[in-house]
């Protein structure tokens, strides 16, 4: 994998966030402040525009991700901006300056992303946040790779784990973010951030599986 992989990933993520924008906003309206779809869409649209400027080949995949992360921090605001921005920056730093990267590097990059999110947001799994989707995905990726799965299969498994984690947020009571103000009233709703997280991981899965 290389810079093009990352670029395709981010473009696909942007596309599906755009597509699911109103759905994400509605989820946020139920337990938040009705802007998550707008926030993520605004951010990833800016990312794609930004990547358009920096001409692909010359820039490595790591730099691409840190740039993308910085762009999210600078354009999203809200909780998801710093969180996803930090996630991508950490992932980018993990990839370093290499032109190419393999499955192990990808797994370490996602580990770093998760760490960044937890460091900044202090949320752990079960608090009804994006961590509930990202955590299982990162774990599953490592495990399936360790189990000898092919990269596409491992990433697909990671994506499915994130979906499961996303669905598992429904019965949870939020204890982080805006939704926590609802107390028990947050139970029964799917977390918007966990949902956008699966969209982003879904984009990664299809990008990777499309690689020759």
């Amino acid at each position: 994998m290389n810079a093009d992989t990352v670029q395709r990933w981010l473009e696909q993520a942007a596309a599906s966030l755009r597509e699911q924008r109103d759905y994400l906003t509605q989820l946020d309206a139920a337990i938040g402040d009705a802007d998550h779809g707008t926030n993520m869409d605004r951010g990833f649209t800016a990312v794609v525009a930004k990547l358009g400027e920096t001409d692909g080949p010359s820039v490595g995949p790591g730099k691409l991700l840190t740039t993308a992360g910085g762009t999210l921090v600078s354009t999203v605001g809200g909780a998801s901006g710093p969180l996803w921005g930090t996630a991508l920056r950490r992932a980018g730093r993990a990839l370093g300056d290499a032109e190419e990267f393999g499955s192990d590097e990808l797994a370490s990059a996602l580990d770093a992303a998760l760490e960044g999110v937890v460091e900044l947001g202090a949320a752990h799994e079960g608090e009804k946040t994006m961590v509930d989707a990202l955590g299982p995905a990162v774990r599953t990726l490592r495990e399936s790779l360790a189990g000898g799965a092919s990269l596409p299969d491992a990433v697909q498994a990671a994506f499915e784990a994130s979906e499961e984690g996303m669905r598992a947020t429904v019965p949870l009571q939020a204890s982080k973010g805006r939704a926590s103000y609802l107390g028990e009233r947050s139970i029964g709703h799917q977390d918007p951030g966990a949902t956008s997280t699966t969209l982003i991981l879904g984009a990664l899965a299809s990008t990777v599986s499309a690689e020759k």
């Binding site: 109103d22 402040d33 802007d35 600078s74 605001g77 909780a79 710093p82």
Partner: protein, 339 residues
């Protein structure tokens, strides 16, 4: 009529431009007080940087006049408005911090919302990288929220207005970075708020109002972004609503009989002045019953939730220091006296 509740009636153009256009209006209406840096989307005090400790604040838009309307002599040096109900990005706070720092350091007044906290945190780190001294002060006065391990903590609401005014006076009086931050924290520690909504705000970019609420219901304990409160219930007489609001605040704020307070009755955007004074009348009775005296008052729309019909009450326990700083001159678009 279902559709009736689904048509947005606002004085706006493209919803995507409402924040920038409103800021342009602020700049046009008050050229003597503020300038707006549109590239960074910040409102800066006309004569910044001054030598004194600077104070900035920021948060999602939709709460006007907070914060842009509080930029000026004796209050804020800059405000960082985000998109409607979305906290601003670190770039804005960094730009504002650099624009107002005169060397004495900059206080960041941050309302306790996850997004605001994280964005201000990143900004503070960036500012320190540029050798600007930053002190962050968190406001979290909304007693409608349980402050526990199971929440993001109490929301910052009405006390933020009072903290910005009083800290502004302290900075104007030559207070040090630590002193200005300390007085802002003192205001937050001695203040509590509670809000009630009759209707929902409607974010211009959203297809529907933030929340649905029955024709005869109110949200008791609402947040300024339409966050839910303690419960949904039927609308009832002002006397009962205010009695419960006062009880919620005063059972949490340690204000023994004989204390002086600043009584702040705030409109959330869609509730008219005539009702705010009906609320004040009921609040005065509640205070009297408890042996409290409102030696200072503030009544009006200062921290709103777009066009939400509703109101909040903030009580700040006063001592001589806070009272003097409150009385000190202030000259901003929304709050002005003494000059």
């Amino acid at each position: 009529m279902a559709i009736a509740t689904q048509v947005m009636k606002k004085f706006i153009n493209d919803p995507a431009d409402v924040v920038k256009e409103s800021l342009a209006g602020l700049a046009a209406a008050h050229p003597d007080l503020v300038r707006v840096d549109f590239e960074n989307q910040i409102v800066v005090r006309k004569d910044a940087p001054t030598g004194k400790v600077a104070i900035i604040s920021g948060g999602g838009s939709g709460h006007e006049p907070m914060h842009g309307g509080f930029v000026g002599a004796g209050m804020l040096d800059a405000a960082c408005p985000g998109e409607v109900f979305t906290s601003p990005v670190p770039d804005q706070m960094l730009a504002a911090t650099k624009a107002v720092d005169g060397g004495a350091g900059v206080v960041h007044i941050v309302k306790n919302y996850t997004g605001d906290v994280m964005n201000f945190k990143l900004a503070a780190e960036l500012a320190e990288d540029e050798d600007i001294k930053v002190e962050s002060v968190l406001t979290n006065d909304d007693v409608a929220v349980e402050d526990s391990l199971y929440t993001a903590g109490r929301r910052g609401v009405g006390i933020t207005v009072l903290a910005e005014k009083i800290a502004g006076a302290k900075a104007e009086a030559g207070g040090s970075l630590a002193e200005v931050a300390a007085i802002a924290r003192k205001v937050n520690d001695n203040g509590r708020s509670f809000g009630v909504a009759f209707t929902s705000a409607w974010t211009p970019s959203s297809p529907t109002p933030t929340f649905e609420i029955g024709a005869d219901e109110m949200e008791f304990g609402v947040g300024i972004h339409g966050e839910p409160g303690r419960r949904r219930e039927k609308v009832k007489p002002a006397a009962e609503i205010v009695a419960e609001m006062a009880e919620a605040i005063l059972s949490d704020l340690d204000a023994p009989s004989g204390s002086n307070v600043l009584a702040f009755v705030n409109g959330l955007g869609g509730t008219p002045t005539i009702e705010l004074y009906v609320i004040y009348n009921e609040l005065a009775k509640q205070l009297a019953e408890r042996g409290l005296t409102a030696t200072r008052s503030l009544v009006g729309d200062y921290i709103t939730s777009l066009e939400m019909a509703g109101a909040s009450i903030t009580l700040l326990k006063l001592d001589d220091e806070l009272t003097q700083l409150w009385d000190a001159p202030v000259h901003t678009p929304a709050l002005r006296w003494g000059r």
